[in-house]
Symmetry: C2
Subunit: 319 residues, 2 copies
């Protein structure tokens, strides 16, 4: 990653095209349950019935899945190449019945319920021996790839460990071999002591700007003590995360003006949830810059915003 300080700007120079609410009602809104696939899981009041109104979150199969739960992998050669069938699962988590709400504005209990739904779905998908990994992610705003404005996140379960996760696991394993310590635990120790890239800490979680981030204001949120697998988190831990996540998103929205963003959960593989070398973390990347030819050709990212300055702006925000 290249920090191009000649191009450095103040935080206010990054204020993105504010995410505009798309419409006021959609198929994800309460009262439209008959227009979606049947729910897999939902937070519901006692008197409500599945696939009707009266819910706080819903988990559905994605209507246009990229992978399907049916079928066999059937790996095969095609000339020089290898292919396999797209076995897996693709689910949508509708985070709230309210079209105009968001994880930044929902009460902490509602955010915690969404995180608990991630955990419950991961534990359930883990029972399928064909699946090796569950990626939880969120696209917020059209520029960050969201096709619907209603607050939602997604789970994609894959029969192989995604390449980027495999690389991260391998790098972390090499570090562990050398030092007998988890690299994220070491980073946490360093950043909590030095403080220049730490943003906020509460409820057993830390938000920090990583060293050499790919994107301006890229942020990692991770448990302050070693935890390899998100789905092994206790309910109290996830409530702590809910509080810190809401706090961080509100800081980000104030400093950057409701930017489009993605988050991606990096967690241990389903079959390796006790890893000493891997520490789960949530990566948040506001969509403020373009990824262009240089990045696609090199794998290097040009970032005009030093992480120390991004952390300072997010830390200082007190509104």
């Amino acid at each position: 990653m290249i920090i191009a300080t000649e191009r450095a700007r103040r935080p206010s120079d990054f204020v993105a095209q504010r995410v505009q609410p798309v419409g006021t009602e959609c198929v994800f809104c309460e009262g439209h349950e008959d227009k979606t696939p049947r729910e897999i899981l939902a937070g519901r009041s006692e008197e409500s019935r599945p696939n009707g109104p009266g819910w706080s979150y819903r988990v559905l199969p994605n209507k246009f899945p990229v992978l399907w739960i049916e079928g066999e992998l059937e790996p095969a050669g095609e000339g020089l190449f290898d292919r396999m069938n797209g076995v897996g699962a693709h689910e949508v988590v509708i985070e709230t019945p309210v079209h105009s709400a968001s994880l930044a504005t929902l009460p902490v209990d509602a955010v915690a319920d969404v995180l608990l739904a991630f955990r419950e779905r991961m534990l359930d998908l883990k029972k399928d021996p064909r699946l090796e990994y569950v990626l939880v992610f969120k696209n917020h705003g059209e520029a960050a790839g969201a096709s619907l404005g209603h607050p939602h996140s997604q789970l994609i379960a894959t029969p192989i460990i995604p390449v980027m996760v495999a690389e991260e696991l391998a790098g972390a394993a090499r570090y562990y071999e050398l030092k007998e310590r988890c690299v994220w635990c070491d980073i946490l120790r360093q950043e909590r002591r030095g403080g220049r890239r730490a943003i906020v800490e509460a409820g057993g979680f830390v938000a920090l700007a990583p060293f050499a981030p790919r994107f301006p204001f890229e942020t990692w949120i991770l448990p302050a003590v070693h935890r390899a697998a998100f789905e092994e988190s206790g309910a109290d831990e996830l409530r702590g995360l809910a509080g810190l996540l809401g706090d961080f998103l509100r800081r980000m929205n104030r400093v950057l003006g409701d930017p489009p963003f993605n988050f991606m959960l990096h967690t241990a593989p389903l079959r390796d949830s006790e890893l000493e070398s891997f520490h789960w973390h949530l990566e948040v990347i506001p969509k403020l810059t373009s990824v262009a030819g240089f990045e696609w050709g090199s794998g290097f990212f040009i970032n005009p915003m030093p992480p120390e300055d991004a952390a300072e702006a997010l830390r200082a925000d007190q509104s």
Copy 2:
């Protein structure tokens, strides 16, 4: 890469926001040479003078470089982390004096001159022993990261081999070790024989849709015979490339409606230009889909367009 056929669409469904001409005149236009940094290289008529009008292309240092030619790398530790200074070079190639022209509309000789300018700059940068790699790339259209509408491409010379190039080199070396053949030579043989992913071949070059492309209509252009390093190409070879590149870009523009796009030249490292295992190629990626949380979290790409169908649409185009 995941081909999501449930999401598959016809080529016409991908027609992007057409790249709109931005203004009619800018600092890259003829007559504004005093507003740019002084030129490093230019194609000029006999009677013209450096940094004045009368040119067909110009190469300039980038006014906002991400790397600088002055200074030393000075690698250093910072706690857990490593950093080095941003030594390198960042140049802009203005491809034509005409604001509204493009590589798709320029005469083949003018395109060849631009390719020869890439070669000349690479050969010159190669003399600097600190530099290990030159990445040539193009961002066309705002959605593909271009900040100026005037046709231009860029060179970034780096003191280390970019991570993505290093991975490609390592993969190619493993294949070579196993088979004693270049993997791109093998792909060319297979695709030219089978034809389902070949698009067009002329002048010693082949355009093909790669197996498992990251993006819809992703295309590779490569020499039909083994060549590791772009800068070792003869003038006749580059004229052949100019013809095929223009043809391909016109096909792409007709099928996809002048989409924003990037191209990236993948070539051997400056100090390793005789590699038996690496075959230089130009990757062209129209900007038609969003890269979002799933891609950033997994390194997998969801592509709704099978490469066989993309190749067929581009091959069939005869206008």
